[in-house]
């Protein structure tokens, strides 16, 4: 699975996710990536893209929950990401990337590593795999 989240200079957020799904999956199986609110979500507050164990991401409505805890609990972006990865995945394994309309970027995962890269306008740039 691959994904990208962006907030542009006007504060507009967007998210996109694409995948081949699971190796050896049954034909006709649908995972989290095409499900809005599970693998992908964007609103005026943030943009989120998820990857990992699709069935756990769907059950946890992971992407929407990042936006929801920002909206209803007033959490900041990284706090929201940490909360959702810690509390919404039950025994599942997944990771996600997110941006906020104020130009922040965040990610979180509870499995072995996640291929990710992030950058902000003030010059920050990071590409990583492990913790």
């Amino acid at each position: 699975t691959v994904g990208c989240v962006v907030v542009d200079g006007q504060g507009r957020c967007a998210a996109a996710t694409s995948t081949g799904g699971l190796m050896n999956k049954m034909t006709g199986r649908i995972g989290d990536s095409p499900l809005i609110g599970a693998g992908t979500y964007a609103c005026d507050l943030c943009g989120v893209s998820c990857t990992g164990e699709g069935e756990a991401i769907i059950r946890g409505t992971l992407a929407r929950d990042v936006a929801a805890v920002m909206e209803y609990k007033g959490l900041g972006l990284q706090e929201a990401v940490d909360f959702v990865v810690k509390k919404r995945l039950d025994k599942g394994f997944a990771g996600l990337i997110a941006v906020s309309n104020t130009g922040e970027v965040a990610y979180g995962f509870n499995c072995n590593g996640m291929f990710r890269g992030c950058a902000t306008e003030d010059g920050f740039m990071e590409v990583g795999i492990w913790e």
């Binding site: 699975t1 691959v2 994904g3 990208c4 962006v6 907030v7 542009d8 200079g9 507009r12 957020c13 967007a14 998210a15 996109a16 996710t17 694409s18 995948t19 081949g20 799904g21 699971l22 190796m23 050896n24 199986r29 649908i30 995972g31 990536s33 095409p34 809005i36 992908t40 964007a42 943030c46 943009g47 893209s49 990857t51 990992g52 164990e53 699709g54 394994f93 990771g95 990337i97 941006v99 309309n101 104020t102 130009g103 922040e104 970027v105 990610y107 995962f109 499995c111 072995n112 590593g113 996640m114 291929f115 992030c118 950058a119 306008e121 003030d122 740039m125 590409v127 795999i129 492990w130």
Partner: protein, 193 residues
């Protein structure tokens, strides 16, 4: 108002014994995609266009599990899915079960922009793709040698791999010794996305 920001991912769950050269290749691809997005943002492209542009690049490169290089079904074929969402107005588009669309994310974008729906799947999505004139290729375009080998290993291990790939032969032994279990299976049957 903050400035722009961008993040990309290539999948979660990485075999701890992933060879360094593959780690390096992954980082180079992620860096290339970040720079593509940064250049577009500096050119004032809207966020929705930037996410589509970057995911297209990731779909076209066979390294990660999407587009070319997608994981294979139990039948050794490729069935892809994608979704896109614009925070401005919360517009969205998604596709599932596409087998000939070169860039599924762009079809998802067309579902959002050019159809009255937010999700099209399987034959309906393929019909829509033909009508919209997006680039179509044979399913074999998406299948890589690497993945044919990994499907074989997955079948031998009689498992479905969560966005992971069987470690390369060279690393398998090392991974086999690691006591780590994920989703109830030894980490050795997983490999990085």
């Amino acid at each position: 108002m903050g400035g722009w920001a961008i993040a990309v991912h290539g999948g979660a769950g990485v075999d701890p014994n992933l060879p360094l050269e593959r780690q390096e290749a992954a980082k180079q691809l992620l860096t290339r995609c970040l720079n593509l997005g940064i250049a577009a943002l500096r050119g004032s492209l809207p966020a929705i266009d930037v996410v589509e542009l970057v995911v297209r690049e990731l779909e076209t490169d066979p390294f990660f599990n999407s587009g070319r290089g997608s994981a294979l079904t139990e039948n050794g074929t490729v069935e892809m899915e994608a979704s896109i969402m614009d925070g401005e107005g919360r517009r969205c588009g998604a596709v599932s079960g596409v087998t000939t669309v070169k860039n599924p994310i762009s079809l998802a974008r067309l579902v959002m922009d050019k159809s009255p729906h937010s999700y099209l799947a399987f034959s309906g999505a393929e019909e829509f793709a033909k009508k919209q004139g997006v680039e179509l290729v044979d399913n074999s375009y998406f299948i890589t040698e690497d993945n044919v080998g990994m499907l074989k290993l997955a079948k031998e291990a009689n498992t479905i791999l969560f966005d992971y790939r069987i470690p390369l032969e060279t690393t398998c032994g090392g991974a086999m010794e690691s006591p780590i279990v994920m989703n109830g299976l030894p980490i050795s049957v997983y490999a990085p996305e």
